[in-house]
């Protein structure tokens, strides 16, 4: 036996992975800047404007500050787990990007390059799996800090993520009934030929949006880091770049959720009339990437808009909303979708 490794394939995928990770990190970095600018705009302030033009160098300054801060590991904390927590948070935040179709295919020479790292036919389930594993970063970090506030916040965070995974999954099932496929690429291609799924699944999208807010621990569901009750949440004991990782992971999650919403319900890289423009493949692909990022940035803006508009829920309200409103609503949505699909297939 001998080595049979397709080196071009490996290099192509490595480049793609590096590009996707780089873009995720860059978008997350500038989301922190965007967040402050949006907050300032909503609250009628100026926001960061000292570092560079429009304060554009502010994220770099913040990153530098976090790197140079003193690292404190509490004396009673489990050192290994304490470091593992933020690492896991970062890892799970970055894993999801593998199954997202960032664009159609590019033709370079006689090689056709798909702008999706892995087109597995269980794409959306992979995302659910990674979201489920995202709990570990919060739980391990909160527990390893050996601090009751951190532990309380970790429990809140974990139960919140687990509770909101259910309506999210149920909302997605209704979508799959229409698409008949779990591959994100197929879902985008179907929207390219037909209509965007937001028109067929408005309730499903609303549920997905609410759950995405809860999964990212964003306001109005940012109870794990409720300052007024818990002194700052599961990352209370963290300092320096380890704190930075937790905050950064939140922004990456926000970016990935926005890409997902754009992909699942708003056509992904497809945009209206794209096939009747008469452009060649590569140009269309690049335009598609631009379209995907425009949609994504809109959803990131919505995340920020909501944060600076709506106050935080109380914990019991959060649980009541998840279990008593969203899950029944998602089930009803699933039932109606199933009935309509059946009706269209067989008539009465």
């Amino acid at each position: 036996m001998e080595f049979t490794i397709d080196w071009y394939f490996l290099i192509e995928k490595l480049l793609l992975i590096s590009a996707v990770l780089g873009v995720s990190l860059a978008v997350a970095m500038y989301s922190t800047w965007g967040e402050r600018k949006v907050a300032a705009w909503i609250q009628d302030r100026r926001g960061p404007n000292r570092a560079g033009i429009f304060g554009l160098l502010q994220p770099l300054a913040d990153g530098g500050k976090l790197f140079f801060k003193e690292e404190i590991i509490p004396s009673h904390a489990n050192r290994f787990l304490f470091v593992l927590g933020p690492s896991l948070a970062m890892l799970t935040a970055c894993l999801t990007s593998a199954v997202i179709p960032w664009g159609d295919t590019l033709t370079i020479g006689d090689r056709i390059v798909s702008l999706q790292i892995a087109d597995i036919n269980i794409g959306v389930l992979w995302i659910m799996a990674v979201v489920g594993m995202g709990v570990y970063g919060i739980m391990i970090g909160g527990w390893a800090s050996n601090n009751k506030f951190s532990l309380l916040a970790a429990c809140r965070g974990a139960s919140q993520v687990i509770s909101y995974e259910l309506p999210m999954g149920l909302a997605l099932i209704a979508l799959f009934m229409l698409s008949g496929s779990l591959s994100l690429k197929d879902i985008v291609e179907q929207q390219r030929e037909g209509v965007w799924y937001i028109l067929l699944q408005p309730i499903g999208f609303l549920i997905f949006l609410i759950c995405a807010f809860a999964e990212c621990n964003r306001t109005p569901f940012d109870l794990p880091e409720a300052e007024n009750e818990l002194n700052g949440g599961y990352h209370l004991e963290y300092s320096s770049m380890k704190l930075g990782f937790y905050l950064f992971a939140e922004y990456i999650n926000m970016f990935i959720s926005s890409v997902l919403m754009a992909t699942l319900y708003f056509g992904g890289y497809a945009f209206p009339y794209m096939d009747s423009l008469g452009l060649d493949g590569n140009t269309l692909t690049i335009l598609g990437i631009v379209a995907l990022f425009l949609k994504t940035f809109f959803f990131i803006f919505v995340f920020m808009w909501v944060r600076w508009t709506i106050p935080r829920f109380r914990y019991d309200q959060l649980m009541k909303l998840g279990w008593k409103i969203l899950i029944p609503l998602a089930l009803l949505n699933m039932l109606i979708t199933g009935a309509v699909v059946l009706f269209r297939q067989y008539g009465i």
């Binding site: 080595f3 787990l81 269980i122 489920g132 709990v135």
Partner: protein
């Protein structure tokens, strides 16, 4: 040596090392983390067999849900090793013997089992979602629905206990 064999070797090594870590580590939280690593490595084996649905369900159910529950319980308990009661010797022997018996049964069962997916070397499509779904909802629909009733009763039971 193909790339499949390299990945298989690496995954197996991780799975075995993590499984040993589960029983050898003193700290229960470390055991849980080792178990999660072991599950992820085994999930990798599923994807090598082209059993994509099994792979992702394994991740969602075992690493995502069940191990989170384990971790929850462990974190809520007091994990001080000093006040942990010492287990009696006969309990340890009983555990070792029953574990060994289970191993014997498993090896005996595996020896004669026909494993078409493994013999095909991951070239079958039976593990893909649509094929698995068709099989579940045609040939095995009665056991499938019955097991869902079983799950429902377990859920109702949990609610009843929780209400007390």
């Amino acid at each position: 040596m193909g790339i499949d064999l390299i990945i298989f070797t690496v995954l197996s090594a991780i799975a075995i090392a993590a499984a040993l870590g589960v029983i050898l580590s003193k700290n229960p939280v470390n055991s849980v983390l080792c178990m999660i690593t072991c599950f992820v490595a085994i999930a990798g084996h599923y994807i090598m067999l082209n059993a994509q649905f099994l792979f992702v369900v394994h991740l969602i159910v075992y690493t995502g849900a069940i191990m989170v529950l384990f971790l929850f319980v462990l974190m809520m308990m007091n994990l001080n090793a000093d006040i942990e009661p010492q287990k009696r010797n006969w309990l340890k022997y009983a555990g070792a013997i029953s574990g060994g018996a289970l191993l014997l049964v498993l090896v005996a069962a595996l020896r004669d089992a026909s494993l078409p997916a493994i013999q095909a070397g991951g070239k079958t499509d039976i593990g893909l979602v649509s094929n698995l779904g068709k099989t579940l909802f045609t040939s095995y629909v009665v056991p499938f629905e019955l097991s869902s009733v079983l799950f429902l009763s377990a859920m109702v039971g949990a609610v009843v206990i929780g209400k007390k």
